[in-house]
């Protein structure tokens, strides 16, 4: 069996108490903790290499530039990008999606259609909605059931009007995996572009963008053991080239006069301004961390934690569980007549960090008929004791809060 205890050694934050309890961190879908090597990478950069990248010609700027571009290659290999220069650094998933939604505006006609699933995070919904407002194109929602099944004949949704299909790989709110391979295939059949939101997948599943063959794939560093403030927009070269840069300025230009600006080549064309260098290096270190462990075994472990919590809770009256019992790395539920935030508060008072609320997915909450859910999400450093402790403490909370 997989051993989370040795991995925990790499995460100093998990060794501290929360109030007078041991900290039980189960809010990993919001953000993961960072292993020492990511912190050392950032520190090492500032202690031995820091300089502005690309334009300089001196000892430090050479170092910084080559480390920065090596980090890009590390990430490209990590997601199996077919070519170099297909990874664009962004602030995170949100910026990556916005970059595409803005960048393709010039390609959108009023009678085009934009497709998203009904399980999207606001980050993969609002940018498309606003794009549809600006262009007149129609935003259409493919209704998936909460167990990730097509609710309707897909043929009703995909047509030659479909310009782009944006779909999450894993739902952050209820942990279910969507059939993205099929989604991408249907999109290709009608000649539509595809964007996959990998924010919740990248820390758990091996990802090969060349196998998926999507046009864009996006994710955030902070949800895969990397730093905040850095994320990735992967794109096929021609897809990236079709994007109008949404930000302009230094780095992304070749030549500027007052009358005209000639933009730079990819990937720089989509990276205006000084990049988040420490973030890129930290994210590359996080890729190394993930690859150093048996990703298959880690995934199985995380799923077994969610399943354990599920089996403790599934037969309790009043508890409704929205996440799948198997193949999910999180558990998401609500309790009748008991407010999520009260449960959340009780768990917190015992040192257990979970997330209660709508998980930035209001329309999905409406589909589920709840105002929010309580979500415990697992990472490689979580133990079986923690999964059990969460479930048992939740039962305690329900009892206490339903007292009168």
């Amino acid at each position: 069996m997989f051993d989370p205890y040795s991995i925990r050694q790499e995460f100093p934050i998990l060794q501290q108490p929360a109030y007078e309890h041991e900290l039980t961190y189960l809010d990993n879908a919001a953000t993961t903790q960072k292993p020492s090597r990511v912190l050392e990478r950032i520190l090492g950069y500032y202690q031995t290499a820091n300089a502005n990248v690309h334009r300089g010609a001196h000892f430090l700027s050479d170092r910084a530039t080559s480390q920065f571009e090596q980090a890009r290659q590390t990430v490209e290999r990590f997601i199996h990008a077919p070519e170099n220069g297909q990874v664009i650094w962004t602030k995170g998933t949100t910026e990556a999606i916005n970059t595409v939604a803005y960048g393709i505006e010039h390609l959108i006609d009023p009678d085009d259609e934009i497709l998203i699933s009904s399980l999207e995070h606001h980050a993969n919904l609002v940018p498309w909605q606003q794009l549809s407002f600006r262009t007149g194109a129609r935003l259409r929602i493919i209704p998936f059931t909460s167990d990730g099944k097509w609710q309707a004949e897909y043929a009703n949704y995909f047509s030659d009007r479909t310009k782009i299909v944006a779909c999450t790989q894993v739902s952050n709110a209820i942990g279910v995996q969507l059939p993205i391979k099929e989604v991408i295939q249907h999109a290709k059949n009608v000649g539509a572009m595809t964007l996959i939101d990998g924010a919740q997948a990248i820390a758990h599943y091996p990802v090969s963008v060349s196998e998926l063959d999507c046009d864009f794939y996006v994710f955030s560093g902070h949800k895969m053991y990397g730093p905040t403030g850095i994320g990735v927009l992967y794109g096929k070269t021609d897809a990236l080239e079709s994007l109008l840069p949404c930000q302009t300025g230094g780095e992304m230009v070749l030549h500027v006069t007052y009358q005209a600006t000639e933009f730079n080549i990819l990937p720089y064309r989509l990276e205006a301004g000084t990049p988040n260098i420490e973030g890129a290096l930290g994210l590359a270190a996080a890729c190394d961390f993930l690859q150093q462990h048996d990703q298959e075994a880690v995934l199985k472990w995380e799923q077994s934690l969610a399943e354990k919590a599920y089996s403790i809770l599934e037969n309790t009256t009043d508890i409704e569980i929205f996440s799948p019992k198997k193949h999910s790395t999180l558990i998401s539920l609500s309790v009748k007549n008991t407010h999520i935030m009260d449960l959340n508060g009780y768990l917190d008072s015992k040192g257990i960090a979970v997330r209660g609320g709508s998980h930035c997915a209001h329309p999905l909450m409406a589909q589920l008929g709840v105002s929010g859910t309580l979500r415990a999400s697992f990472a490689c450093y979580n133990t079986m004791e923690e999964a059990e402790h969460f479930a048992n403490t939740l039962l305690e909370a329900i009892e206490l809060l339903q007292e009168d």
């Binding site: 109030y19 999520i340 008072s349 209660g356 709508s358």
Partner: protein, 132 residues
Amino acid sequence: MESPSLSSIQAQLQACHSKEDTFRTLVTLSKTLPRLSNDEKADEHKIKGCESAVWLIIEHNHTDFPQFKADSDAKLMRGVLAAILSLVNGKSTTEIQAMDLSSLMSSLNLGSYLTSSRTNGVLAILDKISCR
């Protein structure tokens, strides 16, 4: 149940020496807050930006002493609301405007139930209460 006085609320919260104590005290306090009617829980009285639903009504009744009523669908928040209202109920508009509500709140020993301001929307509530 009669609304407890500010000093009693203060005493109860001050006596809490752990997050668990505070949790239980707030749940107990929540029982002292009268419920609003369904009519009163209208959208116009709803405070935006809270993870739990919060309604706040300020009745002026042609006097200088506004009457505050509040409710929430979450117990913890009802407890917090009971504490907040004890600070201002019975006070005149002028007195309330002169109060530094957020530092008074900090003195209540509510700890992180106040710091995560966007989660519970306490700041938005104080804003509305401060009558400015």
